[in-house]
């Protein structure tokens, strides 16, 4: 099997796109914490940086092995298979959430008469094609899209900032510690913990020593984007409108007017959101196929991209039929459910790697 290599810079760009896909769509933790949301976001960001450092350390100990192989080596064959099954379930959950979020957004904000299933099917067709092209193509295409995203968001942020009259993050520390803690959990669950998926791409990076640096910069930029979007949204909409809007950042973008030259600037943002969300599904689909291939001991994976994409679509048609269920899941289940994949398994692997002497099997794997 030909290994596709990507540079640390490409990994960072991919990680940023993956985390920022639609991280600003609901802003649920901000609806709970309002002006204190920055504490939750920063706490979640710091926590995920710590976990990334652990994962990068583990990867550096086994430079030629994929994280799936490392999990198998460290946890053992059957415990490793169980962990992989949970990873697949978690990735399926994230993929379904992304598909449903994009369809909910489209059917409630732009295309109310269109079937959500049709929107999801169109997205899946595109992501399947993209995932089948391979990792290096995906990573290189992100480099094309990302400058467009950055320029658009900076321009729109500048225009929204003109409507912000008072600092929306003041007065601070108005919420009790337990709520801040739970807000941090929500922020950790979505979007930051999604970075555990990127760990499975670590072995494909050319310079292994730069893994943490590239991913941490991406996570910090993702956190900055989230904070800026939240600041601008609360500042321009006001507390009450922010709490009642289904897609607050989108509502704040709709307020932007640029003379008589540019109208409906939110269309631009919809396009960007759609593309970035697609990148999330593309990466999930790609990593899902890779892990499933290792789980079932398969070599020829090319024919599986389409069935896996359609599997995401099929499960999505049966999930979150009501948008309220999706929000309830994001608020209650996701902050707890991600901890197994994003915290427990990586911490176990890290601790066992620290204490485990590198045995013959590891050396054999590194030489192969």
């Amino acid at each position: 099997m030909i290994r596709e290599r990507i540079t640390p810079f490409q990994l960072g760009c991919l990680c940023f796109s993956f985390l920022s896909g639609f991280s600003t769509l609901y802003l649920l933790e901000a609806k709970l914490l309002m002006q204190d949301v920055w504490i939750a976001n920063l706490t979640a960001c710091l926590f995920i940086l710590m976990l990334l450092k652990m994962n990068a350390y583990v990867q550096n100990q086994y430079p030629h092995a994929n994280m799936s192989d490392i999990i198998d080596i460290v946890l053992g064959k059957w415990l490793g298979k169980l962990a992989h099954a949970f990873y697949l379930l978690g990735m399926l959950g994230l993929g379904v959430l992304s598909l449903r979020s994009i369809s909910v957004f489209y059917t409630s904000a732009i295309l109310p008469g269109t079937s959500p299933n049709l929107i999801m099917l169109l997205v899946v067709i595109v992501t399947t094609y993209a995932a089948s092209l391979g990792l290096s193509t995906i990573a290189r295409s992100v480099l094309v899209i990302l400058p467009f995203f950055v320029v658009s968001i900076v321009a729109i942020g500048f225009f929204i900032y003109q409507d912000v009259e008072a600092n929306p993050f003041m007065p601070q520390l108005q919420h009790p510690l337990p709520l801040l803690l739970y807000g941090s959990l929500i922020s950790f669950g979505f979007p930051f913990c999604k970075s555990y998926v990127m760990v499975f791409l670590f072995s494909e990076v050319t310079h292994q020593k730069k893994l943490f640096k590239s991913c941490s910069i991406a996570v910090v930029f993702s956190c900055a984007y989230l904070l800026i979007a939240t600041y601008l949204t609360i500042g321009s909409l006001g507390d009450n409108m922010f709490k009642t809007a289904m897609f607050p950042f989108f509502s704040s973008i709709q307020l932007v007017k640029f003379g008589e030259y540019i109208e409906r600037i939110e269309i631009l943002i919809i396009a960007i959101w759609t593309i970035m969300t697609m990148y999330e599904i593309i990466v999930l689909q790609y990593v899902f196929v890779q892990i499933a291939g290792r789980l079932f001991g398969m070599k020829a994976l090319k024919p599986f991209y389409l069935p896996v994409g359609v599997f995401f679509f099929a499960v999505a048609t049966k999930s979150f039929v009501n948008p309220a269920e999706l929000v309830a899941y994001d608020l209650k289940i996701l902050p707890v459910s991600v901890n197994l994949n994003a915290v427990l398994v990586p911490v176990c692997v890290f601790v066992l790697t620290l204490f485990k002497k590198r045995g013959g099997s590891v050396q054999e794997l590194n030489h192969s």
Binding site: L28, K31, L32, L89, G90, L92, G93, V96, S115, N117, L118, L121, P178, L179, L181, Y182, L185, K243, T244, A245, M246, A292, F296, G297, M298, K299, A300, P303, F304, L306, P307, V308, V310, F311, F313, A314, V315, T317, K318, S319, F320, P323, A324, E325, V327, Y329, L331, K332, I333, L334, P335, V336, S337
Partner: protein
């Protein structure tokens, strides 16, 4: 309508690639592909309900823990959904 179209497409794709992989001696890949295609078709059949989803499995596994955490922290997780 979309469901029938996707079932037909995945059945044709699954059958074609299963046979192709089988002929090349990749039996494991062929069997897994057949299984995945069948599961996808089952999910998309109209009238088939209550199949497990990632959402339902996660809710079944983690709801007690989630309820415990929310009760322990004594927080309200109500947000407005229009």
């Amino acid at each position: 309508m979309i469901g029938y179209f996707v079932i037909a497409a995945i059945a044709a794709y699954g059958a074609w690639h299963c046979a192709r992989l089988w002929r090349r001696g990749k039996l494991r890949e062929s069997v897994v592909l057949g299984l995945v295609s069948s599961v996808v078709a089952a999910y998309l059949l109209p009238g088939v309900r209550h199949l497990p989803t990632a959402e339902s499995i996660h809710a079944w596994l983690y709801r007690p823990l989630s309820d415990y955490v929310i009760e322990w922290l004594n927080v309200s997780t109500e947000v407005n959904v229009p």
